[in-house]
Amino acid sequence: MKAILPALLILIPGVNLFAQEKAAPQPLTVVKPATEGKVWGALIFATNDAAQLIGSQEKAPAHLGQLNDRLSKVFGFKHFEILGQHQQDIFREYESWVVPSRDLFLKIDSNGPADNGGVKLHLQVWREQQVLVKSDAVLRAGSPLFIGGPKWKNGRLIFVLSLERK
């Protein structure tokens, strides 16, 4: 027995080493970046001529209520059509893109939570390769931001950005 014990002690590390070589590779862990909330962005065509509408069937989220009525009070057009929309996380440490269209889209950088609720943001409105406006804003849930963009077909392109409630 005394002669066998040292031999076993020598063999045990070798067995463990062999076991490590046979172990399956660990899967890569996907870490989702920290976020400050989620926004809904949309590119909307506003016009008084219904014939100019392109027939999009996109619908606004329910939390915005009667969006067309609200837009009409600000911009005065009769018809509104959502051309594209995008739900996007606001990343705490990285830029976020809200791209309902390649023609008019938004870059967002978070500046952290705002006092009394909401998120402080740095916004850039892009028209293809041209930045139209850079803005610092506080976005709060239930209070959308309407951005009046360029004119198009006797109407206007409007960008709507809304913070979703958590």
């Binding site: 609200r70 976020s96 269209s101 803005s135 959308p144 309407f146 077909k153």
Partner: protein, 219 residues
Amino acid sequence: MKPPSEDHDLIRWIDGEMNDAERATFEARLKSDPMLAKEAEELRALSAGIQAHLPAEMKIPHADFFNSQIQVRIAQMDLDESRQKQAGNTSLADLFLSWIRQPWFATAGAVALAVLGFVWMRPHTQDTSHSLILSSYTPGLGVEASTYHDNEADATVLMLDGLEEVPSDRKISGISVHRSETEPEVASTTLFDATGSPLLVISRDDAGHPLFLTNTPRG
């Protein structure tokens, strides 16, 4: 009862206020009028008795004693006069003082101050409940940005005026993005539609301009 004039002369005589001629005339009368002489003797005895129990002279407290007494008296008269003027109607000050003296006044005052403090310090919810545009900058020439909050629409408006109009024959179409994945190491974001199919990969070029890496539906 003696006539006042005689009493007056008698007192002046007792007090030694008569000159020599007056005193001689009066003393002649005393000799001829036993009744006056008796009264004079009684008054003199009374005066002597009073003077015997009083000090010959009183010491003045201080040099300005009489002036100060006059000023005190004038002040008292002024005060009495002002009180008489106010006596006709009960002043608000007296009413307020009577309130202050009430035992419940301190508690009620503390509560009132607390309520006022709360009203003054409370957050202005109307100003902080909606979104705000803090600043804006338009790099394009002739482009102006104006901001305001529309109460009827309950929305914050950032109006861009002076932008170049999009040609009418240009087709503008959108996409519907339901999900995105970002890869911070390569600074790219992949956008997915409702079915999970990738729509677009957006990154930035060396100049920081957005760069679309995947063809997407366009008008």
